[in-house]
Symmetry: C2
Subunit: 318 residues, 2 copies
């Protein structure tokens, strides 16, 4: 049985997840980062990898940009649970003919990104394989009151996103179609950045949070899955920049699809109770519902999202 | 410039390593696991990966055995610094046509191995690639007095190994040459196990320690590198089982080479001061020296080991 036969990665992860027993595990599988308690400290742990050809291409990424991206996507996961990144382990799989300069460039990029966050690389591993893989594991610390989980959305919460969506996917598609110009969008794809600074000022008014690695629809579904809720997404409210729309048009694609299913924007999606609505900033893009469907309203038309709509295994351009 | 041009993985890691600033880092890059301090707790962190075709083959490994091995090699690294494994993150790279049953089998094996150590899987990631890669990150806790580093060997320390070497490499070569029989050796390759229980009773008499993932010569060099010492290895004292010698002979290989350069035995190599010699168990296989060469005495002949002798990138059978 293939992964696509069982409904994709979501279902696979469900099958693989078992209950944990250790009472120091505050949150195991199912969030941007796991959270454990060590004495009175809350420690967040996450791992995410970049695979050559899947997540980057050295045809348009510099080695430094690959390294930066590998760090930023993990930093984003640590921040997404309300923790602060501190240490990283780097596990590399290298083809035998890999150039030393390439690896040094990737490490330089990782260090440059890490410096912004006082992140230290404390260990790693090198193995050999057919394809370059950069796997980063990261740990960070959280104050108890700052911890934000996917599982804490409440029915009637409003859903916000911290910034415009679809620009990274627009950038990717410009590269894939060899289209000149649109440098700003391309840079969004090449140099993604964690966006925690945008939500930090009003963190205490947020109920649940997730970062956008796979598109708004996917992230809202993850929140709903963990919170046992549904949601309505107001598609007409999703912030999409004019240049993203133009780039999508040039590629014969739909900018809203980029935003909903494209991913890698690393903006934050968060839910807020009605009484805190005026305490937060961002773009209001939906509402959490008690009914467990996920619906999208677009120009007055209601659609129900299926799991397959944004399944990794079924996407063509990732 | 290729990795082999600069002298291999050792030199690469040296180039990539930079000084860390955070004073809570007790040990960064350069040991089996990193060690950080969180409040008054000492936390060990490590990462190690298995790549299909490099570290295992599904032609002779069951999925469960692959999963067990992925856990045991990391458990061994955590134990090698004197810590106790507690939590793991699993990062998978999967080819798109991977069977769900294969992944479930790998996870079953990881859980079976984990249960022995009360290890909990708390998170992970799934990405897509050409080749199956299982990257495990593990964290554990150590008592300050139990921490054993590669860097604490002293000149005149005696070098011990906790058990026989070369059997895993013998097993691998039997598989590669399609030779029947020798089931015990094959099992050593298929089901490696961390050996910490062997040294635990006399841990406090050990100065420095490392686990055997790449052969005795390589591990002794790592200790010397970190401790700024040299060593003499008494090749005639290296414990090699008769069946390992027989299997090597069948494959037209040298059993001592398996022991020195083969690896994956996961026995522990440790150094002990003269005054504690009668407090420890194991096989005495060498001595730490002030002079920084690494010499091997074999049947009265002295050889100096070069870096290339056991370089990953130059080995033919791994």
């Amino acid at each position: 049985m293939k992964i696509s036969d069982i409904g994709g990665e979501f279902e696979l992860i469900k099958r693989l997840t078992k209950k944990t027993k250790n009472k120091n595990i505050i949150k195991g599988i199912g969030d941007d980062a796991a959270i454990i308690k060590i004495n009175n400290k809350y420690i967040a742990l996450t791992t995410d990898s970049l695979v050559d050809g899947s997540h980057f291409s050295l045809n348009y990424f510099t080695p430094e940009q690959v390294g930066k991206k590998a760090v930023e996507i993990n930093v984003s996961d640590i921040f997404a649970v309300g923790a602060r990144p501190e240490y990283a382990l780097i596990s590399l799989v290298l083809p035998r003919d890999t150039n030393v300069e390439l690896i040094e460039g990737i490490y330089r990029g990782m260090r440059q990104a890490g410096e912004k966050y006082n992140l230290e690389i404390i260990g790693g591993n090198i193995a050999h394989g057919k394809q370059l893989v950069i796997d980063v594991s990261m740990i960070g610390e959280a104050k108890k009151e700052d911890i934000k989980l996917r599982s804490d959305a409440k029915p009637d919460d409003f859903i916000f996103v911290s910034g415009d969506l679809g620009s990274s996917t627009a950038g990717l598609n410009l590269f894939l179609n060899n289209i000149n110009g649109f440098e700003k969008l391309k840079r969004k794809h090449l140099e993604p950045e964690a966006k925690f600074y945008k939500v930090k000022p009003f963190l205490k008014y947020i109920n649940s949070m997730i970062d956008v690695s796979d598109g708004l629809a996917s992230e809202v579904q993850r929140i709903c899955e963990q919170s046992r809720t549904g949601a309505v997404i107001y598609a007409d409210n999703v912030p999409i920049k004019e240049e993203t729309r133009q780039a999508a048009a040039v590629c014969n694609k739909n900018a809203l699809d980029y935003a909903l299913y494209g991913g890698e924007d690393f903006e934050l999606v968060y839910t807020v109770s009605k009484e805190n609505l005026n305490k937060v900033k961002g773009y209001l893009v939906g509402r959490i519902t008690k009914e467990r469907d996920i619906k999208i309203y677009e120009k007055g038309i209601e659609k129900i999202i299926t799991k397959h709509g944004y399944n990794h295994f079924l996407e063509s351009n990732k």
